[in-house]
């Protein structure tokens, strides 16, 4: 027969070879490898102060016939420590979820049982498929002052433990961070950055339960954050950015009336608009170009030659005055 045996780390384990007598001649193996006789007390296998590495398949064979007499799967582990439990409502007013984990592994299978009581009423916390250690509950009542009491019990073959959380409806409301945060420079404005974002998709009804937002930003080169709190809208223009410096920007959300701030959103980076250096042909460059018959002046594609407002003429004949100067200068050369 084969079965599983659970033992605590540090325990002394004695295994009998099934129904064999103490003085029977037997051979024990661990994961297929013969075990030294020094671990035997007659036909009993004695493992002192077991550690995790001694987990495995232990088999006992009758001495001469090598007939398998007994087999056990030894699992060395620990009883559970007090679990860590957290409950949060990121989808208010629909409901809340609780999630949990063990602070240290037990190395053996654990089972979790969660109970939720609201006043005198038992509520069912439906386990999520993914992630495993999580369950969710729908609010049956809103605006209640009666607290919720959540008890999580963890059990394994070596012991059990539990923890309890007590909270009221408002206290656990914490939205997910805002999504799709985008920061863009504002053309021709060296000190501005336009930031926009969206409500977290898990927040079911932002119209009836509006969120307010907290924006923080700083240039990469500085440690200190600037903060702005926004009571409505999902965009904001930063107007005091340092010209030319790359910024890091994050946004957080909170229900307008209750609960706590979300974690910070994913950080986005942006640099305010800067004026591009003008690659104009200067007087010096013109005089250098002496054999000019085949040369032609080609502006690099990304270079801005004209400033806005410096255009002379209109339509097809529109020419900016600086380009005009250059053309005029060339014309003079060829005359």
């Amino acid at each position: 027969e084969s079965h599983t045996q659970y033992e605590r780390v540090g325990a002394d384990v004695t295994m009998k070879c099934g129904s064999m007598d103490w003085d029977a001649a037997v051979t024990w193996t661990a994961n297929g490898t013969d075990i030294d006789e020094s671990h035997l007390n007659g036909s009993y296998l004695v493992l002192k102060n077991v550690d995790l590495s001694q987990s495995g398949q232990y088999s006992c064979y009758e001495g001469s016939s090598w007939h398998l007499k007994y087999q056990t799967n030894l699992r060395v582990g620990m009883p559970p420590k007090e679990p860590v439990l957290m409950c949060r409502s990121n989808n208010y007013p629909k409901g809340f979820y609780c999630s949990w984990h063990l602070p240290t592994p037990t190395y053996i299978p654990n089972s979790f049982n969660i109970s939720v009581i609201h006043g005198t009423k038992d509520m069912v916390c439906e386990k999520d498929a993914v992630p495993k250690n999580r369950c969710h509950i729908r609010y049956l009542q809103l605006f209640s002052t009666v607290k919720y009491k959540v008890t999580l019990t963890v059990t394994n073959p070596l012991g059990k433990n539990f923890t309890t959380l007590t909270f009221d409806e408002f206290a656990i409301v914490k939205p997910d961070p805002p999504e799709s945060v985008v920061a863009k420079p504002v053309p021709n404005n060296p000190r501005r950055l336009e930031v926009s974002w969206q409500n977290p998709s898990s927040w079911p009804d932002p119209e009836s339960f509006p969120l307010k937002f907290f924006l923080r930003y700083r240039p990469l080169i500085l440690d200190q954050w600037q903060h702005v709190e926004l009571s409505d809208g999902t965009s904001h223009t930063i107007t005091d950015a340092y010209a030319g410096k790359e910024y890091i920007i994050q946004v957080a959300a909170k229900d307008n009336d209750i609960g706590t701030w979300s974690d910070w959103s994913v950080a986005v980076h942006a640099t305010p608009w800067t004026e591009e250096p003008k690659h104009l042909t200067t007087e010096a460059q013109i005089t250098e170009t002496t054999s000019a018959s085949t040369s032609s002046f080609m502006a690099p594609p990304t270079t801005k030659i004209c400033d806005k407002g410096a255009v002379v003429g209109s339509g097809a004949m529109a020419v900016c005055w600086t380009a005009g100067l250059v053309v005029a200068a060339y014309s003079v050369l060829f005359i």
Partner: protein, 200 residues
């Protein structure tokens, strides 16, 4: 409401709702401050769970999202009228208990009472706009045989009751903001009252 709302009525409703939301928001902030001061000065334990105190309107509600606009207004009005009476009672008890020794708490209580009265009036305005009659207040008619006055509470019971009153009032203030936001939503063309949502 069978007919669709006139544009001016819709505008007035939205205006009353936004002002109501601001009133309720301010009221809540003041009630929360008052609650902290009350707990401290009355020597109470903030985590004391006050069992449902008799006569205090509970903010807790099931199927909140399914309520009609009228239901919301009526329930809010009944609650704030009750709070008006309860706070007046607390103020009286406060004066008896401490006399001049705790004028600050008394003043804060009076300020909240004023806001509660103002909010109740605001709700009455909204109900008039909904073309609903404003229900008369209980106890207005002196000839009515109301329930006998409650037995006089001990000092400790008074304090616990006060805690229960303020806690529920704080919840109501949050609920009222939510209710008014629902109310402020434009009513569908079918004429169904605002706030009537699909069943979950």
């Amino acid at each position: 409401m069978a007919a669709a709302e006139s544009p001016s009525a819709a505008l007035r409703r939205r205006d009353l709702c936004s002002r109501g939301i601001r009133l309720a928001g301010k009221m809540r902030a003041d009630v929360v401050d008052l609650l902290d001061a009350y707990v401290e000065q009355q020597g109470l334990d903030a985590s004391a769970s006050a069992a449902a105190v008799e006569g205090v309107p509970l903010a807790a509600v099931e199927r909140w999202d399914e309520q009609t606009g009228t239901q919301r207004l009526l329930e809010n009005l009944a609650a704030y009228r009750a709070f008006r009476t309860l706070l007046a009672q607390m103020l009286e008890e406060q004066r008896e208990q401490l006399g001049e020794a705790d004028a600050g708490l008394g003043r804060a209580l009076a300020a909240v009472l004023l806001q509660v009265s103002a909010f109740a009036y605001h709700l009455e305005e909204l109900l008039r706009l909904e073309s609903r009659g404003v229900p008369g207040e209980e106890g207005d008619e002196e000839e009515e045989d109301g329930p006998p006055p409650p037995p006089r509470l001990s000092l400790f019971e008074q304090k616990l009751r006060g805690l229960g009153v303020l806690r529920e009032l704080a919840q109501w203030a949050v609920r009222s903001v939510r209710d008014l936001r629902q109310l402020a939503k434009p009513s569908p063309a079918t004429g169904a009252a605002p706030g009537l949502a699909e069943s979950p």
